[in-house]
Subunit: 456 residues, 2 copies
């Protein structure tokens, strides 16, 4: 897959590098090798590289020596000297992406800074890219203008999207729940945006996380990492039960992911789900088929209503487990973090039943977690009988604020949540990507700062 050192014609176009346009005079392929990281550029190649560039004033160099090797850095610096600090170098970088490095006068004898990343792998593709980019400079500029206009039209009606000067659309997760910080994702396409009776529902496809579901501006799940949350909020309670679960209730969880995980337990007889917003399952079935597969199981029965009202009508002692897969305690899910709700949950659970509820991140919301912990102790502990258990566990998930999320587990019985009693079948276990009996135990071990707060 080696490509010889050589030259290709420079395209009659602008190419966007980092934040500005460059019109390259010519493009030089110094060396291209499909497995470049492991190999060294022969010295003759390096010398011809220097020789060519002594006379070049503005050029783009495709340079496949691994960016991260010391020798390559020294070489690039040397080449910089020879080229009087003008032009560009594109080096192969760690992820086999091409990285253009700008070298300009201001950085003489200093280090370089990286800018935009090109998303193709092999040097041959430079040619394709150049062809795609070719055309008059004006055309190119008007194409970019068009891109920005199209993006801006989509963006103007969705507060959490912005379009930058490269025509890229980005989603920013701003919320009063985590002021002064925001995780941002580059948007490929907005797939769905409507206001339901209860909340703003947005689905977009992203470059790195697949499809993303956003409710009231807050990321609920992405194709790439949803499983960690769904597996943990489900298997932590179901595997902690003394005897296998038969009857389970989900409150919230309209994306279907928790249902999917529950169905992996073969002992389950009925699964009820009570979701407030009918639009969420509709959207999930269309844009997140791998998650929404949970709805297809014949043991599943859906109720579209308020979880609070639903629980009032349920017979006491009905469920082995209740999973509260809620959004944050602002907006529609607010009541699911309060005492009247937990009183109803307590009533609806069997004596040995377990409730597991979404319980925020220790890094951001220790105050909420502390209050929830206190509340659950109040509801589930019975000092007279010396019974009741409450415990907090967590998992990591990159697209949730601070990169993690926790779960509050409670029961009227004395249950040691830390050690799983139930095991998934071999077939089911093989499908899991996050949960294991070992992770189950480890997820209850909190960092010191959190442990101190939740022990008191």
């Amino acid at each position: 897959k080696s490509v010889a050192v050589g030259e290709v014609e420079a395209p009659e176009s602008h190419i966007v590098f980092g934040r500005r346009y460059v019109r390259p005079r010519r493009i030089v392929l110094l060396e291209a090798n499909a497995r470049g990281e492991k190999e060294r550029t022969p010295s003759w190649a390096f010398h011809s590289f220097l020789a060519i560039h002594q006379q070049t004033t503005e050029s783009v160099v495709v340079h496949s020596i691994p960016f991260y090797s010391i020798s390559s850095r020294e070489r690039v610096n040397a080449s910089w000297e020879e080229r009087k600090g003008r032009g560009w170098i594109i080096a192969r970088s760690f992820h086999r992406r091409l990285q253009p490095l700008r070298l300009d006068r201001a950085r003489a004898s200093r280090y370089w800074s990286s800018s935009k990343v090109f998303e193709f792998e092999w040097c041959e593709r430079i040619r394709i890219c150049c062809r795609a980019m070719s055309g008059r400079g004006d055309e190119e500029a008007s194409r970019l203008d068009q891109l920005k206009k199209t993006a801006a039209a989509t963006v103007s009606e969705i507060g959490s999207l912005t379009v930058n000067d490269k025509g890229e659309v980005w989603f920013a997760e701003l919320s009063e729940m985590w002021p002064g910080q925001a995780f941002t994702i580059k948007v490929k396409e907005v797939l769905f945006h409507e206001k339901s009776k209860y909340q703003d529902v947005l689905v977009f496809s992203s470059y790195e996380y697949g499809n993303v579901l956003v409710l009231d501006g807050v990321i609920q799940c992405t194709d790439r990492d949803e499983y960690s949350y769904q597996e943990m909020i489900t298997h932590l309670p179901l595997c902690s039960l003394e005897s296998p679960a038969k009857k389970v209730l989900v409150i919230g969880g309209g994306d279907g992911g928790v249902l999917r995980e529950i169905t992996r337990h073969e002992t389950i007889e009925t699964i009820e789900i009570c979701e407030l917003d009918e639009m969420v399952p509709e959207v999930a079935k269309k844009y997140f088929p791998k998650m929404a597969v949970g709805f297809d199981d014949e043991r599943v029965k859906c109720h579209f209503m308020d979880g609070f009202k639903f629980l009032k009508e349920v017979d006491a002692g009905t469920y082995d487990a209740i999973i509260v897969d809620s959004s944050d305690p602002v907006g529609p899910a607010a009541s699911l973090f309060q005492k009247p709700f937990f009183d109803l949950v307590h009533r609806a659970l069997k004596d040995t039943g377990i409730v597991c509820t979404q319980a925020e991140s220790v890094w951001l919301h220790l105050d909420i977690i502390q209050e929830l912990h206190k509340l659950c102790l109040e509801v589930f502990r019975d000092p007279a009988k010396n019974s009741g258990s409450v415990n907090y566990a967590y998992c990591t998930i990159p697209t949730y604020p601070s990169g993690q999320i926790g779960f509050m587990l409670s029961s009227k019985s004395n249950i040691d949540f830390r050690s799983p009693k139930q095991k998934l079948s071999e077939n089911s276990s093989a499908l899991l990507k996050y949960y294991s009996p070992e992770i189950h135990g480890a997820s209850f071990v909190l960092p010191q700062f959190a442990k101190k707060c939740l022990d008191c």
Copy 2:
């Protein structure tokens, strides 16, 4: 601390709510109570609230009922009906911040969306805020203009900062190491920005994370969460040693945080640190005094040079532990992820010595971790002697990409890294905010997707 229901004069000014200016006709304090969350607004207050607003066309209402209670939501909706969908409501929100909710025609009978968060706690302060904001509308607009200009002047020379239309400055952590996503932090003030011989060095103060150190556009540490990384990269190796550490080497770690943690081990006799970039400790001492305190210990000796070159000159079998506190494998730290470097580390360690190196996040860089794991096995495993150990652990940290970071631990001996052998003194333990012997063990338990990759 209760404030009676009443009215205050509307200021002669614009107030910025969310994305637009509002000139309120009057401000109504419906109820203000310092511990509002636990209490209910008396119904008379609610009724007078409705009564007042039946005649109001454009108004700001300070409404202290907790935003997240169902009852309050119903009330707010009811009040919306009465007010024909015009005006604003400010509700107390979860974090005792005030949240303005815009209600407009477009959202008739729908839910509301949240916008800007006000950063004061009690309703009394609304008055102060109004006073601060008072003045002619023109003055207010020119003040905002000035703010934007000042911010833009700072921002133009730092690629990773942007200023939005509210005059807020935000830092975005863009990198080819995590394309298509970026963590962003709201900037209070840029404290330092210079290019050292090796990299771009930026320090800013933030609203939520204290001071932030950024090298080549990538966050290295923040006042708020640095301890989790520093404690784990230090105590994981030092507590895994069979006998207490006496001689330790740090490579990188110019912020001093790892030094601080090492000094908590009372058995330590000498600590050497080899940092490439002298500017980093200088900046750390000035802007991160709590971290840089490590440099003050008399057992610490600094070398400002390339870690690679330093290790070449070191006697074989010198160190009990080597801690490689590097930045990512692009830029100056690239060589610290390659075999020649690990060969030198192997040589410099005692037979029972341990090296612990920064090893990225399983969610983003499983490929890098796999290669590093293979590399460490190659260097540290001796099949003939059936000796050598390599293991991967991780911790959570909100301001690192994906919210976590890992560590690769290696030794020529057979060491069970998972169970700590050394204990910190009681005094030292009391100072720790993340590490504990229990966290030590749990940090090696990987999610299934990562375990599968690192077992093979």
